[in-house]
């Protein structure tokens, strides 16, 4: 697993669930301001990451993930693999 793979998964999930053009999603993209994602969208992303990478994200940690890059960095830092 490398950064690009995690980014691709995050981008693919967001593009599918939020029905947005994947080309508009970059590392600096903000979930709420740029993608109009709400708390339910973010919970689903967190659960997708937990299922795929065997990580555990607390409520407090989830609240600090504000951009696509934050999510990718969190996975890379906490993944057991």
């Amino acid at each position: 697993m490398n950064k690009d793979e995690v980014f691709d998964l995050v981008r693919g999930h967001l593009a599918e669930e939020l029905e947005v053009d994947p080309g508009k999603i970059g590392e600096g993209t903000r979930f709420k301001q740029d993608l109009d994602a709400d708390s339910l969208d973010l919970y689903e992303l967190v659960m997708e990451l937990e299922d795929n990478y065997g990580i555990s994200v607390s409520e407090q940690q989830a609240a600090r993930i504000e951009t696509v890059g934050d999510a990718v960095a969190f996975v890379l830092e906490h993944s057991p693999a």
Binding site: V20, D36, E59
Partner: protein, 340 residues
């Protein structure tokens, strides 16, 4: 012999206990519905019941727990396992008479939202005598936007047509006046969007008093207003029913009149009883999730399972997705329409 759809039933959470839940499972199984019940084998006592399989489960989520963290943390809880059973294809639908919040969270995360649905909504069939009125949202979303209300309208219309058998259901928007500009910003915004929407019969605004009167087949509102309105109607119906019973016992002549009316009122009582509707259904997911009434008796549990099975049989999910697509009411379509 069981040949109907398989329904995953949360074996915990029935206020009246395991015996009542098990009896509800037996009644539903006798209709030919297969059940996978997630709960304690010994307490449920369902060994050997044709069409019923108990999946031993010891963990559950109580009403006092914060639903979202509990669902995320308790992967082996009965309601979470029931949702997973549907997502993994073992069951076709799930039913829980337990915590409404936990059921909504488990179903939303486990079954996932339909493509293009922003917020699932909790819908109930109001016990309006002789005429089904679907009312949503009754508690899933305290705050909503205009686009959410538009999606609720499509979700409700699809369910009303597919499951309740209402052809071309008329959809009303709950507000404080019939005029289009009445109500909060999200309500007037939804009114404007629904007036232009295709594939749906928008009946305009309806007021609270129109709800039990059947002014529309589907009535849409936010989860806060919907929950207050639903509880108000249930409380009023209970109070009025009690007052009629007291009046009928107030003197011998009234008692005689009451006895003469009893057969007719019995049917009405059954129609108004919460057990009859089978509970609420969470619309907008990729699977079927029914939230049973907390105080449901065995017949109420059975009706919740029957409702779930019927939704599967009529492909309520597929028909909902198709209507959303056809009406341009998916998240992406509405964002493109608004130029976002």
């Amino acid at each position: 012999m069981a040949d109907g759809p398989t329904v995953a039933l949360d074996g915990f959470g029935a206020e009246q206990g395991f015996e009542v839940l098990a009896e509800g499972a037996r009644i539903a199984a006798a209709d030919g519905i297969r059940l996978r019940v997630f709960g304690p084998e010994r307490e449920l006592g369902l060994d050997g019941v044709d069409g019923v399989e108990v999946v031993p489960t010891a963990e559950w989520i109580g009403n006092e727990e914060d639903p979202v963290p509990a669902v995320r943390a308790k992967k082996q809880a009965s309601v979470v396992r029931a949702a997973r059973d549907v997502s993994e294809g073992e069951s076709a639908a799930m039913v829980s008479p337990g915590s409404t919040g936990a059921t909504m969270a488990a179903a939303t995360f486990g079954l996932r939202r339909l493509k293009g649905v922003q917020r699932p909504a909790l819908a109930v069939r109001l016990p309006v005598p002789g005429k089904p009125v679907l009312f949503l949202d009754v508690g899933a979303n305290v705050e909503v936007r205009a686009q959410h209300l538009v999606q609720f309208a499509f979700l409700g219309a699809a369910f009303s047509e597919a499951v309740l058998g209402v052809a071309g259901p008329r959809v009303g928007l709950l507000s404080v006046g019939e005029e289009s500009g009445k109500g909060r910003e999200e309500v007037s915004g939804a009114h404007a969007l629904l007036s232009e929407a295709e594939g749906i019969a928008f009946a305009g605004n309806v007021e609270g008093g129109d709800l039990p009167g059947g002014a529309a087949d589907v009535v849409v509102t936010d989860g806060f207003t919907g929950n207050v309105a639903l509880k108000l109607m249930e409380g009023t119906a209970k109070t009025v029913t009690g007052a009629i019973r007291d009046a009928a016992r107030s003197n011998p002549l009234a008692t005689l009149g009451g006895l003469l009316l009893r057969p007719a009122l019995g049917g009405l009582r059954r129609e108004l009883h919460p057990d009859t509707t089978g509970g609420a259904i969470l619309l907008g997911l990729r699977g079927i999730a029914v939230v049973g009434h907390g105080s449901a008796g065995a017949e109420g549990i059975a009706n919740a399972v029957r409702l779930a099975a019927r939704c599967v049989e009529v492909d309520a999910v597929g028909r909902t997705a198709a209507l959303l697509e056809r009406g341009g009411a998916t998240r992406g379509a509405m964002a493109r329409e608004s130029g976002a």
